[in-house]
Each structure stands twice: as structure tokens, then as C-alpha cells.
Symmetry: C2
Subunit: 392 residues, 2 copies
């Protein structure tokens, strides 16, 4: 087991009607002026935003609002948020929405405390030194950004998608009411389930075998998300299934399922480029590349893939031919993705990849051939091209 | 699933040589004068305390020391610590040791910020309003106090053992180096393993069935602790097994394995009275009463006990006679306790309980007949007497 740090200071307030506590929670942070940051209007139409304002009013907290965060949140809106928050003397940012609103809020939080261009931080030119405190009211189970230290922003100039991780951006609190996720369309719900699973799988696929406890936690989480997703296909308003994936989303990306080992993260890098170029749903993009990635890299650690097949996918171990176990496990997860109407190829995303685009994606993904991606197997630009080609 | 809050702000620094970071960690808390609180000298003899002092010196942090915390930590030492810390202008408490040193440190932390008698807080006469910040260097996997909000103190006057829970006492950081636990005697190691398991089992035995994710996490943790305990019987210096139980100890009592449901906690209450009267090792005391408690209460929720038998103890479900599954599960855990040389009766603790003592224990445990204990089945004084009698 490798040395690790585990730090999850976010106070989770989970369950029915918990959004009514938001005013008191902001006050408990000794903050008085909030930027309420949200997406493209569903939180307004559902009446959630009005309840949030009522709670802030009741607690004597003033606020300004900024909507417009979109999937693969844009740098231009981040700039707008920074300007608005500075002008209004904001001392707390409240994201109301999913990963897009939260990630956008995190970037605004960094930008408010950084003199230069916030994009420099995402380009890793300099590490962040401070951030405005933020909180979250979550409306979709997916990115885990509500407890994580990370955010991902897309720069429209060149459609570059870049992530930044720092404890400074961990939300002070996260309000999670499963009922707020009842009205999500099936595609978004299932894309979220894939994202949740992938946050754990990126950590699970590791050469470190001596992390039995972390493995049990990861395997349990993966099994539960699959069970709950199947329920939600038929009963989108099943409270317990909604609750389980909502909580799983946070645990899957707060560090718990990676303690004691290094992760892989190649699929996220592969998808980030796709998302930057084609604006596909993040979870669906991950489902589209995972199988090809898995078939390309499994020979580098067949034992780990076999453990996944047996303990997560319920495949009987083939003692005579363990490779069959590995391949059956990969197929079983792809079958699961299909069963929840997720793509297992880039074509099924509605994207027809040409050879030029594959080369461009791989070039960008390798940071212009300056890095490899992945842990189970290190992948250079050539490898990345091959995987995109397999996945297309 | 019930509404819940989850709050674990403790920064965990886990792995080899991590104790050398303690000076920097205290400085990062903006504290300058530390009370180093420890037990009966093993941390001195092992040289750990010298390394701690060296790290504090290197970081320019001054300190005073107070040893002497014993299992079932005493109120008299807490008073001594409060006086010393106040006199010396201490602004941070560092517990170096196990649950005894940590719980004692938590009580000192409360007492420093409370004008009256700190025991009033443990008697619930008034809730704590503040506490001096504290950190931990952990030397035994057991109580989980390093991430928990709780502490238990024994008042020598009447040998009353009382607990107090508040987020104010959650340590700011917890340094966990598995190598520091290598030299623990087998009895303490195994008693710790039982304590860790019981912190999860007290949460697991609940009527709430719609917490599948929490159940998977709990079941995985229990299985892993049993696996690691078996390894440590033969290889007490197996790094990974030591690491797994150390981390399991924290996760078992930081709230994770109870999210979404109420717990039971009757076994802890039964053992607290035993520990107060006879000063037995906490984990061993829990092992001694668990089987009798389980046989007494299982008819109140046979389904939950069957799930435990199948998913944790690996008992095949008896479809024709589910009660057989339940009883086989209880026996299997008692067999496990025996296999790691833990008692399964109070007599095996070396305590011969007379009828008068049983009545006194039950009277105290029911808070002079003012409360019931337990969640799976509410237990009054008569029930408690019966369980002590079964367990003797």
C-alpha cells in the first residue's frame, strides 16, 4: 500500500428538504454576500432557485445571481463570474446544479483571488494560492465535484479542456436532496452513472494489489451503482435508487476509492479531448472509449482486470484460461452500458471520426507529444491514436 | 434511506515515516504551543516521542508533555491536563498513542474552553460550545477516535464511564504510520480488530434495509478486517495487514458505515459498564457480550442478521429455514473471535459475574432505569440483566 493523504472537509447534508438549510449554512461560514451560480435554467423553472433565495433571505444573506453554466463549462462565463463577483463584493459562491455549475464556480473562486488570468492556473503555469469559499446544492449525481478537489474548464479558443486540482476548491458544504434529481432525463441520469463508475474505475485499475480494503469499497460502490441504474431505468423517481447514486457520486470522487494506490485516468484524458472537440456528454463519452481502452491495455495487468471481472461483474474465474475471464468482464461492462442505453463506441455518440481528427485528438491528448497518459499502461500519441481508432 | 449528515474534516496522513511531518502540520494550524499527551510510556521507550519532539523543534513549535493516559482513560488525568495546558498557554493538543490518549486529549480540549467542571459535559448537563484544536499520531488500530467526534472518559468516583460526541472534537489531522503498530502485543492487536468491527456492526444492525451502498461498504470493511487479523496472527509485522486495519479503524468510526440509517450501539453500552467496573480491554469486552446480545435480539430483525451471515460470514442462505442461516452467522463470528484468541463470554475475560453484580451493571447501564439501549431491539433493565446472564 502506498502512502496517501485523505482530506474530505466538505460537510454533506443529505436527504429530503435539505436545501432549506442553505441560508443557515452560508451564515455559519461567516459570509454575507453570495454569488448564486447555476446552469441553463432548469433550477429556475423547477422553483428550486426561489426556495434557495427564500432561505438566503430568511438568514439575512444577500446575493447576486449568474446563470448559464453549460456542460463542459466555458472559460468566458468564468471570466464574467469573476468580474461580477468582484464588482459586487461577493465573499461566498453557491453553485446550484451539477458538475458544470460547480466546476464553473470553482474556477470563479480561484479567479477572484488571482491577479492574473485564471486560465494560467489551468495551464499549470502557477499553482493556485487562494480561493473564495464555496458551497453546493447538487441536482445531478455524476461528477462528484461537490466533494472533490478538481474542476475542468473548456477554453473556447481552440476548444481546450483542462483540469485543476487543489484542496482550496473543496466545497465547504454540499446539500444533496435526491428528490431534486427526479426530473432528469434518462440520458443524463445514465451518463451520470457511467461518470460515477468511471471515477472509481480510474482509481481501481492500478498495479497496486495490496489495497484490499480500498478494493472492497470500490467494488461495492460499482455494484451498487449498476443495481441502482437498472432500477432507475424503470422507476426514475425511486427515492432510494436516486439517493444511492447521489451518495455514490460523492464517494466515488472524494478520494476514498483510491486510497493507497495511484490511478490510471487515461479514459478521462481520452474523453476530455472528445468533449472539448465535440461537446458530448462526459459520461457517455467515457462509456464510448472504455471498452477499447480496456482491450488495448489489459495485457499490462491481466490479474487486475480478472479481479474486476469476478468481483464487480460476477464473471466466474476461468482457472484454465484467465484471459477469457478478463475479456468476459470487459464484455459484461459493455453489455451493462448498452442496457442503460449508453454508447460503447464513438460512432454511437453521433460522432463520425475521420483519420485527421483522430490524429488531432491524439496530438492534443498527448499535450503536443509532451506527455503520456495512463497508469496501467503508459500511452503515448501512437497508442492514443490506436485506441481512438478502435473506439470509433 | 434516512436523511444524514457526513462530516469528516480530519486530514489523514497515512504511511511510512509520516510522523516526521507533525511539526509542519501543527504550524499549518497556526498554533505555537503544544500539549503532547500520551500513555504509559511505550511511545517514550520506542523513541517515537523523541522523533515527535525533533519535528516540533524543527518547525519552531514549543511544547509541554503529559503522559499517563490508561485504557478507559481517567477523569483525574483530564483535570491535570486542563490545568497544565491552561497554565502553559497551550493552543494545540497532540495525542500520541491510541484511543485512550486521544479520548483523554479530547476531554482536555473541551475542558480548556469550559468554565465549569468538564465532567458536566459528559453528563450531558450542557453541550460543549468550544474546544482547543487537536491532532493525533496514532499507534494502535482500534477506537477510530482519530477521525471520530466521540470520546469516552471514566470517572473514578463510582467508576462511571460516559461518552460525549461533538464535531468540535474531531482531530484536525491524524498521522497514521502502520509501522508504529508493529510491536503491539497480539491481545491488543486482536482486541483492536474486534473494536473496529464492532464500530461498523453497531451501525450495520439497523432496521433500515434501503442502504445498499452503506451495506456494501460495511460488509467489505468487516471482511477485510477479518482477513487482515488472520494474517497478523502469523505475521505481526505484515505491513499491508497492519495498514489495512489501521485505515479500517478510522473508516469504521468516522460515520461512513452508518450513512442513511440509525445504529444499535447496545453492545457498546453493555461493554462500557463492564469496562467501568472491571477495567477489561474494550474490544475483548465487546467480543465477550456480542454473541449473547445477538441471540437475544435477532428475532426482532432476522432478515438483517441473515444478510450479515451471508454477506459477511459467507454462510449459504438456508431458504427452507432462514433462522438456521442467522444462527450459523452468529456462530461463525464467535468462531472467528475464538480463532484470534478473543473471549466469547465474560468468564473468558477472567471476570466471574455474580448475580448482584449483574443487577448493578444492568441498573447502571439503564442509567438507573431511565433509558433503554439498542436499536434493533430496545432493551430495558430486565433485558440487559438477561443478556449479561447469558454472556457470563
Amino acid at each position: 500500500m502506498k502512502n496517501f493523504q485523505y482530506y474530505t472537509p466538505t460537510r454533506v447534508i443529505f436527504g429530503k428538504d435539505t436545501e432549506d438549510q442553505v441560508g443557515d449554512l452560508v451564515r455559519a461560514q461567516n459570509c454575507t454576500k453570495v454569488l448564486v451560480h447555476y446552469g441553463t435554467g432548469s433550477v429556475k423553472r423547477s422553483g428550486l432557485l426561489d426556495r434557495v433565495y427564500a432561505s438566503l433571505d430568511a438568514a439575512g444573506v444577500s446575493y447576486v445571481s449568474l446563470g448559464g453554466a453549460v456542460p463542459n463549462p466555458r472559460l468566458s462565463l468564468v471570466y464574467e463570474g469573476i468580474d461580477l463577483a468582484k464588482k459586487e463584493g461577493v465573499d461566498f459562491i453557491l453553485a446550484v446544479g451539477g458538475g458544470s455549475a460547480i466546476d464553473s464556480a470553482k474556477a470563479i473562486a480561484y479567479g477572484m483571488k488571482y491577479e492574473g488570468d485564471v486560465w494560467d492556473l489551468y495551464l499549470k503555469k502557477t499553482p493556485p494560492a487562494d480561493a473564495t469559499p464555496l458551497g453546493v446544492i447538487l441536482t445531478i449525481a455524476a461528477t462528484g465535484s461537490e466533494m472533490s478537489d478538481s474542476s475542468v474548464i473548456t477554453n473556447e479558443e481552440g476548444w481546450l479542456k483542462r483540469g485543476l486540482s487543489s484542496d482550496l476548491s473543496r466545497p465547504r458544504f454540499a446539500i444533496m436532496n435526491p428528490e431534486l434529481t427526479y426530473t432528469l432525463p434518462e440520458y443524463q441520469t445514465m451518463s451520470g452513472c457511467v461518470d460515477i463508475m468511471m471515477h472509481t474505475m480510474e482509481r481501481y485499475f492500478s498495479h497496486e494489489m495490496d489495497t484490499g480494503l480500498t478494493d472492497y469499497l470500490a467494488e461495492g460502490l460499482l455494484k451498487r451503482v449498476m443495481e441502482a441504474a437498472r432500477v432507475l431505468l424503470k422507476e426514475p423517481q425511486n427515492y432510494d435508487a436516486r439517493a444511492e447514486i447521489l451518495w455514490a457520486g460523492s464517494l466515488s470522487h472524494n478520494g476514498l476509492t483510491g486510497c493507497g494506490r495511484t490511478g490510471d485516468w487515461a479514459c478521462h484524458q481520452l474523453e476530455h479531448e472528445l468533449g472539448g472537440m465535440f461537446d458530448v456528454a462526459h459520461g457517455a463519452g467515457l462509456a464510448a472509449v472504455w471498452g477499447s481502452w480496456a482491450r488495448y491495455v489489459y495485457p499490462s495487468d491481466a490479474a487486475r482486470f480478472a479481479k474486476f471481472a469476478v468481483n464487480v461483474m460476477g464473471i466466474p474465474y476461468d482457472y484454465a484460461d484467465p484471459e477469457k475471464t478478463v475479456l468476459a468482464g470487459i464484455e459484461a461492462l459493455e453489455d451493462f452500458f448498452r442496457s442503460i442505453h449508453m454508447p460503447v463506441s464513438i460512432g454511437e455518440l453521433g460522432v463520425e471520426l475521420g483519420e485527421e481528427q483522430i490524429k488531432e485528438l491524439a496530438y492534443k491528448c498527448s499535450f503536443m507529444e509532451t506527455r503520456t497518459i495512463g497508469g496501467i499502461r503508459k500511452l503515448d500519441k501512437e497508442d492514443i491514436e490506436k485506441i481512438y481508432r478502435m473506439a470509433k
